[in-house]
């Protein structure tokens, strides 16, 4: 807009200079010519021809000069009219509205931009007072502007509103609407008035009349933009205010949160301290490793258990503490192994073997937990040194073995008369046979074949007596536990041979239902025989309570059960065990017998459990009792 104004000024100045220059120039030429004539002052006729010639020459020279001047003038004139045309064109086509007013404010001259701005043709504008087009509210300003323009030689500027013209309503989008819900009551959006900026400069025209040259710029857009800006500013302020209060609010809550965080941080520290103290005070070793088996952290107990210092362990492989069953202990293998092993064993307690710094092994109970930090997985192993417990278990086992031995002696005591009877039978037979032999030999013509037969029978009876004594001695003497693979059916036969004397006199019919081809068991023969004898003896004692004439049955059965364990059953048709007794018979020192210790079943159960089996029973009053016990088979042991 200012460029336009500058252009206007330049054109105007040029025009003024040209108007002043042209009359001056023509005056000068005339004066010069008159002067030249005056200077000569002489009559031509009086002049000599030389003078005349001189004069003529002079005239000719003037003439040429004049023609030259005329040509120059014509050229200047042409330039001027060209410049004028150009000016007119510039004037008319200028995007800035130009108005020329006389001193009464009547429009004298206008350009196309002005007609467009005012929405009237040139004809309608010229001759009309500019005040008619001006908004009533701006009339006062306008008149003082005109006055100022006429009196002051400098530029005057006026911002006014024109009366609205339908075609001049430059529609402006209020961008504020897009910002938010606009709540301003007097939004300028609908105001269609045209705002203009007028610059006025008074000058005299060639008729010496005072004129005002006005350049009018449409500043509606600027004005509206300004108003929109104002509106937006207000909205912005409102928004800022709102946001400020929100910020204050969130600041408050942040402060609160900071306080809370401080508190929880404090709590965390406290907890960490507590955990740390637990971590290091724990008697269980706590070892954290990564998935590759590298030790990340250990607690103080680990030092105690393994004898290493913490520094010696951090970063080392877990293999250092707990040798893994790997042939090739490369990192890769270790990682694969851990990946397979760990998830299976999380939450379980496994017995593993650890290696101390001094190379000695230490039995451990190991439980594993898994956790992840930042997508990295770690495993925490909690290890407990169970060497003391193992030792205790060993002691308990020895204690059990001793107790078993003592009760075995007791059992034999109870069975002594039966066993004596069992030994007496062959001895009696032997005495009889030998006496018979003597008698035959002393007689006439002893029958050698008969003697042979008798002596053979004597020999057999001797062996039989020897076997019983042998078994008895094994049973009573054996204190040292010696496990071997054994056939359960053989053990049952051996046990029966020690209680044989009890069956016939007590009118008990023994039935054996032993499964063939059973897998071997890995047991201490004497202890298992003790269990069998105990159960047989209990059944015999129960059967003795039946009326004399009732047929008493005792069955011993073996079979392989679904778990691949051998199940041994000792079943009688005795009076059964009432429910009150069932609760107690497996407790120590409980007995229903006048001569019983109440340890038989307790020991039997302990012995079976020491062999990884179970002992239980099933009894219905009036319907007999069945005792069961199981033994793992050799197959299972091999699998382990």
């Amino acid at each position: 807009m200012s460029k336009q104004t500058a252009d206007n000024k330049a054109i105007e100045m040029l025009r003024n200079k040209a108007e002043i220059l042209l009359p001056n120039y023509s005056n000068d030429a005339r004066k010069k010519a008159t002067k030249m004539l005056g200077l000569s002052g002489t009559d031509i006729s009086r002049l000599s021809s030389a003078d005349i010639q001189k004069l003529l020459f002079e005239f000719q020279r003037y003439h040429i000069e004049l023609e030259l001047q005329n040509g120059e003038l014509n050229r200047t004139h042409q330039e001027l009219s060209a410049s004028r045309d150009e000016y007119e064109q510039l004037y008319d086509l200028s995007p800035v509205s130009y108005l020329t007013l006389n001193k009464e404010g009547v429009i004298q001259k206008t350009n196309a931009a002005a007609t467009h701005l005012f929405g009237h043709s040139k004809e309608n504008l010229i001759g009309k007072k500019l005040g008619e087009f001006i908004h009533p509210l701006d009339q006062d300003n306008y008149y003082s502007f005109i006055k100022d323009s006429l009196t002051t030689p400098t530029d005057q500027t006026l911002n006014i509103k024109l009366n609205s013209f339908s075609n001049a309503s430059a529609y402006l989008n209020c961008h504020g609407l897009n910002l938010c819900g606009c709540s301003l009551q007097f939004c300028r959006h609908n105001n269609t008035s045209t705002h203009v900026e007028c610059r006025g400069l008074a000058s005299y025209n060639n008729k010496n009349e005072l004129q005002i040259h006005l350049t009018i710029s449409d500043i509606t857009e600027g004005k509206q933009a300004q108003e929109t800006m104002l509106c937006l500013n207000e909205k912005l302020e409102e928004k800022i205010h709102k946001q400020t209060s929100e910020l204050v609010e969130s600041n408050l809550s942040l402060k609160k949160k900071v306080e809370e965080l401080k508190y929880s941080k404090h709590q965390l520290r406290e907890r960490e301290a507590k955990l740390n103290s637990i971590f290091n005070a724990s008697i269980e070793g706590i070892i954290t490793i990564d998935t590759a088996g590298n030790i990340i952290s250990v607690n103080a107990a680990v030092e105690t258990i393994f004898g290493y210092r913490v520094e010696d362990l951090i970063g080392s492989s877990i293999n250092k503490l707990m040798p893994l069953p790997l042939r090739n202990k490369t990192r890769r293998n270790l990682k694969d192994y851990l990946q397979a092993y760990m998830p299976k064993n999380i939450g379980q307690i496994n017995e593993v073997e650890g290696i101390r710094k001094d190379g000695s092994s230490v039995p451990l109970d190991l439980s594993i937990a898994k956790f992840s930090i930042d997508k990295t997985t770690y495993f925490t192993g909690i290890v407990r040194d169970v060497s003391l417990r193992k030792h205790q278990e060993q002691l308990d086992k020895e204690h059990l073995d001793e107790l078993a031995h003592v009760t075995r002696l007791g059992l034999m005591g109870e069975m002594a008369s039966g066993i004596a009877h069992e030994v007496n039978q062959p001895l009696t037979a032997i005495a009889n046979y030998t006496q018979a032999c003597l008698n035959f030999i002393r007689g006439e013509n002893p029958d050698l074949e008969q003697l042979d037969e008798i002596l053979f029978k004597t020999h057999q009876q001797t062996l039989r007596a020897g076997q019983i004594i042998h078994r008895l001695r094994d049973f009573v003497k054996s204190k040292k536990i010696h496990r071997t693979t054994a056939d359960i059916n053989t053990l049952i036969h051996d046990a029966i041979s020690l209680c044989n004397a009890e069956f016939r006199p007590n009118n008990i019919r023994l039935r054996l239902e032993l499964a063939k081809n059973l897998p071997a068991v890995y047991v201490d023969n004497v202890q298992i025989e003790q269990v069998i004898i105990n159960l047989i003896k209990n059944s015999i004692d129960a059967l003795k309570n039946l009326p004399q004439k009732t047929q008493r049955h005792l069955a011993i059965q073996t079979q392989l059960n679904d778990d691949n364990d051998i199940e041994i059953r000792v079943k009688d048709n005795g009076p059964g065990i009432d429910e009150a007794q069932q609760q107690k018979i497996l407790t120590p020192f409980y007995t229903t017998k006048s001569d019983g210790m109440g340890m038989g079943l307790v020991i039997s159960r302990s012995l079976v459990e020491a062999h990884d089996g179970v002992l239980y029973f099933n009894s219905k009053p009036e319907n007999g009792t069945t005792f069961y016990f199981t033994l793992p088979t050799g197959r299972k042991f091999n699998a382990n």
Binding site: H421, N424, L427, T428, N432, Y433, Q435, A436, N439, P505
Partner: protein, 215 residues
């Protein structure tokens, strides 16, 4: 060592244990004595005959029926065979029971064969005597059976130490009638004198019928 027992005597042997049975059979047979052996008491009861003088070697402990039970059963059946008990172990109450019920002996296995053989001899001798006694007793019984009711009444009073006079009063008959009955009794019973008569009827425990025996 030969025992001069008539071959018609028999030793019964019951033991559930084959070796004992077999060896004892050999032993006893080696003395020339016949043996019949049984595995159980019932087998024996089914086979036993009282014709021959015999004895019984009996094991105490046996299934189904024990030696002592058999002894009781024999007593119930009034079979008086002398019993020598043999036992695998000495049980005082068992042996006391056996002796009370009239056992010859109670031998603990293994036993001295000579003692056993000696006991067998004694037992058979005892059985012979018993059997003779029994025959005698049966004869007396037969004689008693021949007495009339009145004669039995008189007999019971006489053996109860009543005098003729007392008996006559008791039965409310004359002395002379008593004398006649008494002579008939002595004749029927083939008794030489009162003492012999009393010996004869003593085992029969003749109790006066319908009379109060009192002073």
């Amino acid at each position: 060592m030969q025992i001069n027992t008539p071959p018609s005597t028999l030793v019964y042997l019951i033991d559930d244990e084959f070796a004992v049975r077999d060896s004892l059979t050999f032993l006893i047979e080696s003395t020339g004595q016949a043996v019949r052996s049984f595995e159980s008491a019932n087998d024996f009861l089914n086979d036993y005959s009282h014709e021959q003088p015999s004895c019984l070697i009996l094991d105490v402990r046996m299934p189904s029926m024990s030696g002592l039970e058999l002894q009781e059963e024999l007593s119930n059946r009034e079979i008086s065979i002398p019993i020598i008990f043999i036992s695998g172990h000495a049980d005082i109450s068992d042996s006391a029971k056996a002796f009370r019920a009239g056992a010859i002996d109670f031998l603990e296995k293994p036993f001295d064969n000579e003692i056993l053989l000696k006991r067998i001899e004694e037992a058979i001798q005892k059985d012979i005597e018993t059997k003779e006694h029994l025959i005698k007793k049966r004869q007396i019984q037969q004689r008693l059976d021949h007495l009339t009711a009145r004669e039995k009444e008189v007999l019971s009073l006489i053996v109860s130490s009543y005098s003729n006079k007392e008996a006559a009063m008791k039965l409310n008959i004359s002395n002379r009638t008593i004398d006649v009955h008494r002579a008939h009794i002595m004749e029927k019973m083939r008794a030489e004198n009162l003492a012999e008569l009393m010996m004869m009827v003593m085992p029969f425990e003749i109790v006066p019928h319908g009379v109060e025996v009192s002073d």
